[in-house]
Amino acid sequence: MGVIAGLVRFDREFFVVSPGSTVLLRFENNDLMPHNVVICRPGEETCMKVAEGAWALGDRAAALEYIPPDATDVLQHTRMLNPGESEALYFRAPEIEDDYPFTCTFPRHAYSMKGIMRVSVDLHQSAPEELSAEPIVLDPAKKPIVYRTTITGVSTSAIAVGMPKGPHYVFNPEQCTIALAWQGDFLDVSKDQMGRGGAGSKIRGEPFFRDSGESPLHLGAPSAKHAIQYRGYDLLDDMPVFHCEYDGVTVNLAAAPATGGTKLKLSHEVIAPKRDVFYVPPSGMDTHVANRGGGTRERGYIRFKAAPRIRTSFEIRP
């Protein structure tokens, strides 16, 4: 058993042992904070009481391994292990079939570090429901939802947008691109909103589109690189219009469900570029150019002549 680094949780929160059997519990502190494992007598509050007793030890806690000397609810415990240490506990499981909660008694950890050792003759059981809490999934059925969060592989500050009938997408403010698009359920924000939170969100579907990580829009030449600055968004009927600057040139970007069997329509607006604008479709992306900006298809890109305002739209299909 170990710890989910950074989340202040055990990586195993439920296990079953037979009554009276010999148990070998190996605990490895692979986290960056001190942790122990303390198995308590059955009861909803026993572990929390032991932990609170340990916190109240103050200066004496370290010498006592964070176990209150008068605690009667402790069955087994490891030492308080520093990062990188491990310890094996050998003990005889209780004879009485019941749920024996375990925790870590380092201050405040008991709020999130908790699990259950179930003593039972039936070794094949699944974790009780309270340990596998319902995930928090945002549902944009009634109106669009905009939610800023970490999306692994995209950005630590991406903007996820869910639409009532889909598709949903993730905007990457660092590159001013639509990074992912998918159908189905929207976003699981459990790791962001439960426990200490802030651990990012997961999209609830298989993306039918994934960008290359680079903006498809280039000013001056199809391979030009730009300093891209994200400037924020406005809500228009609850849908965001994103604002970015490419070397000081304003680029606005919006995405909406597309009609006619296609899935997502991206609309770019480039304000007064001094040079031509090139749209280089991400490889593998099936695009239709709505020629509102007067774009011409050339080898591998679409060129728009410099103008006071260039409007383009593209459709992404699954």
Binding site: L7, M33, R108, S157, D192, A199, D234, L235
Partner: protein, 469 residues
């Protein structure tokens, strides 16, 4: 006979307990009813000029309370932990993990349509500890806040579990000017959750106990000074190149001392945002002092500050403990009536979220008003005169002093703990003030408790001595 002795012991024990008791009939704590089904974990809070209260929550919403109704102003923000109402109509600033954002309700329908990136320039690697915290604005229109360190397994110094590998400006106190320019001001914060500007324009920040931060503290933040945790020095070009060879002793010599320690855990584990009592007496006898809460405990404290040899220092005192007060005390603001609003959020560390209001009932509590340092001791002022005869007894003052270890360990020790016996006591102003003579040393914390003076919390005070006048 045997039992009689027990009775005496018990009555002594009871006296001691009642002297330390937290009864405080001078203030009332009420819990605000909030819309049902809403996660109300307060990350930031501010009043608009018309009295509307704006709140941002940890799950990313902004709400406001006006005409006895809560309305949602905005949503979808990334764990905002600071909020300031702007001067333009419909304008609210919130500090998200990666940017300061200007929200504007342009069409006055009660909902923001503009989410403008007003200022940014620091990195965030996506660990929960990478907070951007606290938000205040000065009269010139500049904003100030603090950037928490992220969890970094590969860049610890002597085993400290928070570090910063490639993310720029983590562990810094910063400013964003009114034109949106990000200006890093001082390195050395760990998880500095709170920030406040004094009426005279000094900025103080509150930081959280952990490696190098021996106990929660209040720090006077001056640009360019090193505030204690070495991780942020990586982005300070005065030190970045030599950081790898610097020792804890080097950091210790370099660091600024906090103005006030909040000794762990008696005075909390995780300090809130501080707020100055600018109510001019509407909140009781403590006008000009700082109020500050604790995120993990049912605790509100107050602080008095004084400037000695151009160094800020002072004392903290328990103000409210348990009773009707909840935990999660995170953001504090006074309203125009002089009531103290407490925005609560403790998820992950304790139980407690929502909004409570503390109101002064008009009765003067009997306690230590403040402790000031003198050349050879402390001057205690009381909110009401105490019995001069009892106050004149040296034995009625229990003083203990210690210094804090400066260490990369998660828990620092109190070192060199001493009981300090007062060598004389002088009662002044008929019992309104007492001068306690005792030997003082710099760089130590003094805990003072009184006996038989009938003071709330036994007059418990913790004075941080940086300089002796």
């Amino acid at each position: 006979m045997k039992y009689a002795r027990y009775l005496v012991l018990i009555s002594i024990a009871l006296t001691a307990l009642s002297d330390l008791a937290d009864a405080n009939g001078a203030y009332e704590v009420t819990t605000t009813q909030l819309p049902k089904g809403i996660e109300f974990e307060v990350g930031g809070m501010d009043f608009r000029k018309d009295g509307a209260l704006f709140i941002c929550t940890r799950i990313g919403d902004v709400w406001f309370y006006k005409d006895e109704t809560w309305k949602k102003f905005a949503g979808g923000l990334q764990e905002p932990l600071g909020l300031v109402v702007g001067e333009e109509p419909g304008e609210v600033f919130v500090l998200q993990r990666t940017e300061l954002t200007r929200l504007v309700d342009k069409n006055a329908d009660g909902r923001a349509e503009v989410f403008e990136t007003f200022g940014s320039g620091w990195d965030y690697e996506g660990t929960f500890h990478g907070y951007a915290m606290g938000l205040i604005r000065d009269p010139e229109g500049s904003f100030y806040g603090n950037l928490g360190l992220e969890i970094d397994a590969e860049n610890t110094h002597d085993g400290a579990w928070l570090g910063t590998r490639t993310a720029r400006w983590r562990g810094w106190h910063f400013k964003i000017t009114k034109d949106g320019t990000f200006v890093p001001l001082s390195p050395g914060t760990r998880t500095a959750n709170g920030i406040v500007r004094s009426p005279d324009g000094d900025i103080f920040i509150s930081d959280n106990q952990g490696s190098y931060i021996a106990s929660g503290w209040l720090m006077h933040a001056v640009p360019g000074e090193f505030l204690g945790h070495p991780a942020g020095l990586k982005w300070d070009n005065r030190y970045s190149s030599k950081l790898a060879s610097m020792t804890v002793d080097d950091f210790d010599k370099l660091r600024k001392r906090p103005a006030i320690y909040f000794p762990y855990p008696r005075m909390g584990r995780s300090a809130s945002e501080p707020v100055f009592d600018t109510t001019g007496g509407k909140f009781g006898p403590y006008a000009g002092q700082i109020f500050i809460g604790d995120v993990t405990q049912e605790l509100l404290m107050r602080c008095s500050l004084e400037n000695v040899k151009e160094t800020w220092q002072g004392a903290c005192y328990p103000f409210l403990r348990k009773g009707d007060l909840g935990a999660g005390n995170n953001r504090l603001r006074f309203d125009a009536k002089g009531q103290l609003f407490i925005g609560q959020a403790a998820r992950g560390w304790a139980k407690g979220s929502g909004l409570q209001v503390v109101r002064w009932l008009g009765k003067t509590p009997k306690t230590v008003l403040d402790v000031e340092i003198r050349r050879r001791g402390f001057m205690l002022s009381f909110t009401q005169a105490v019995d001069p005869a009892a106050a004149a007894l040296r034995a009625n003052y229990e003083v203990r002093s210690f210094r804090y270890e400066y260490t990369s360990k998660y828990y620092a020790d109190q070192l060199d703990v001493q009981t300090v016996k007062p060598n004389h006591v002088k009662v002044l102003d008929g019992g309104k003030r007492v001068l306690i003579g005792l030997p003082l040393e710099e760089d130590r914390v003094y805990r003072i408790r009184t006996k038989h003076l009938g003071l709330e919390f036994a007059g418990e005070s913790f004075y941080t001595v940086n300089k002796i006048p």
